[in-house]
Amino acid sequence: MLYRENGQFKTTYAADQQIFPIAQDRWTILGILLIAFIAIPLLVDEYLFRAILIPFLILSLAAIGVNILVGYCGQITLGAGAFMAVGAYAAYNFHIRIEGLPLLVSILLGGLTSALVGIVFGIPSLRVRGLYLAVATLAAQFFTDWVFLRIPWFTDNSSSGSVSVSNLQVMGWQIDNPVSKYLFCLIFLTIFALLAKNMTRCAIGRQWMAIRDMDVAAEVIGIRPLFAKLSAFAVSSFFVGTAGALWGFIHLASWEPAAFSVDRSFQLLFMVIIGGLGTIMGSLFGAAFIVVLPIVLNQFLPALGGVFGIKISTAGVSHAELIIFGGLIVFFLIKEPHGIARLWSTGKEKLRLWPFPH
């Protein structure tokens, strides 16, 4: 009953083109943002910040990037981890090699470098499609893994290949405690999500979607596949690379190439598919699902076993975690192949009609 747009009349084009055309949505989003920026930093403890919220924010950002490429432009990628690595190592090199370069600039330059590399690895997409492309992007993954392991220059000649950063600050704001790290990532995510949302609503976004839905047809009506595909690769890699830089700088502070292994790529693809292809909201849902679920299961199962008086061994817990995690993924896909975002919009649809079913 509450969720109705009755009485909200659009009198201008601008009003009709808003991101959230329904007033209730606008209030909800505003409320969520307020909670995220003000309530959470006041209420939440350190563990939730470090182990869940910060990884969630950063991986959401990466998932948005992947979603631009996979969900909006239809180019399946299994190399997202590689672009995170490029972003992180590039930002690291800018950070240590150029004295006095502000942190923000380093991170964004990391993203830009990743975008350039993304364009290079996007070139095969002009020729190769679908699953073939997905596997071809794995080439990027394994190649970057190797590069950062083998070429000492990228890791500042560290003997182990592991690098670390410290004393991070932005314009005098020390980013050292969990709250400041959380807010820093949150600001990034908010701005980038808005950016992505708008990008997908304008001409370039429509080009991507045209390419996704039928590239030959899109080409026929005058969309340049070269430009559309490579721009999707560039924008996507920029997002993913920025997320990678944040992952390295803010979350881990010390990392090795294994932090961006092929597992990470799979994880990101998981997020966008579980969350919903072609929706920004879905990337966030997916990231939440994939980040939180294993941790919850890991802690929840022993507790659950305790209720029934069963003591589950650590190995047993991780096996059960794997089984349940895999099972839930399959379950979700069966229940809603279009992802959590679709579930969300179906829910909204029902709410609109409520109390009538159809």
Binding site: D45, E46, Y47, L48, R50, A51, I52, P55, I96, L149, R150, S159, S160, G161, S162, S164, S166, N167, D176, L252, A253, S254, W255, E256, A258, A259, S261, D263, I295, V296, N298, Q299, F300, A303, L304, S313, T314, A315, V317, S318, H319, L322
Partner: protein, 445 residues
Amino acid sequence: MNIRKLALSASLCTLALTSLAPTQASAAAKDQYFPVLVYRTGAYAANGAPWANGYIDYLKLVNARGGINGVKIIFEECETGYATDRGVECYERLKGKNGGATVFQPLSTGVTFALTEKAPVDKIPLITAGYGRSESQNGAVFTWNFPLLGTYWVGADVAIQYFAKKLGGVANLKGKKIALVYHDSPYGKEPIPVLEELGKKYGFDVQLLPVAHPGVEQKATWLQIRQHRPDYVLLWGWGVMNSTALREAQSTGYPRDKMMGIWWAGAEPDVKDVAEGAKGYSALALQHGAEPDAKVVKDILSMVYAKGQGTGSKEEVGQVLYMRGLLSSMLGVEGVRKAQERFGKGKVMTGEQVRWGLENLNLDQKTLDAMGFAGVMRPVQTSCLDHMGSSWVRIETWNGNKWEFSTPDWYQADEKFLRPMVMLASGKYAEEKKLKPRTPEECKL
């Protein structure tokens, strides 16, 4: 969705969420809390599990013996899967529980690197017995890392000493070829600087052969070894990589008695399935080998396993990795015991106090004998500036059936050679992090 379903899922969600929020530190903890990072699943489970069992069994033994001056130990496992981000999550989850963690032992070089940045903030010592970053021996810079008993640089140096001995002196190393087959990760890369330095010093050639995680694909590596016929192969693997290397050596006909493994490549899971095929293969032993006859092992069997409280299977008690876990555990416990001497016997120690204990460890032969470690390890003494303590290495050989010590010799790394490298590397780290190394005066506080 009907009401029942809704209620059920809501209550499950609440339960899940409450399980997420870690129980906060109770004001006065009564027990000493040891978090245990383990991996019992995944590609490295075969090696991670016995280590973890040894680690926990020793804690159980201490409790059975009445605790640390009466203070009982509680512990909790967390599965990392040998993945850095899972390890970090485990660390964050466990560090604040039960009044705060005593020490962390990640058993992963990658996790160690990540935690090295976090431990100083949380003031929790990291024990990395036989692994971790080699330069963290310098306690002035790495104030919270304790690579007790030995670092990889020690291992590399001793391996070369052993080769020299077999060849009849360091002079004969000249012109020889030594291949390093290593796990392509920070762990595997640790020995490279030392080997290259030593190569320059003695005039031998180092051939680097990386093997990608998890190490099941080594055909090309061993073809190269067959091509270059190095005089010795140094195996720096972990988990399934070790047994694969031995199988490949067998199938390309490289003599196993010219292969030498680091101490993480010298345990039962590495050779058991290759059995006869691995005969003659040697590995460094970080002080101990398989010690089924040690008193501490017998104590564990009688005081823990006999009561049905053993963590793993009985057969594995006393094996190499089990002993390694047990030793690591013992070092942590002794750190607490030492700290109690200063800060109050029978009290629960904080991480900071335990650090003092670890920096002032002095396990002489008498203490070791009393604890049941006679013959397992040699005395160890640490200081504020030396976080490793003395390091002793033996050489064990697989006879097709079990590990045995082929020679009674004990080796020690060449401190005169390694110390400058440690200082250089840790100095670079301090400079990067803008850290001010501790002075001996600060140590006394």
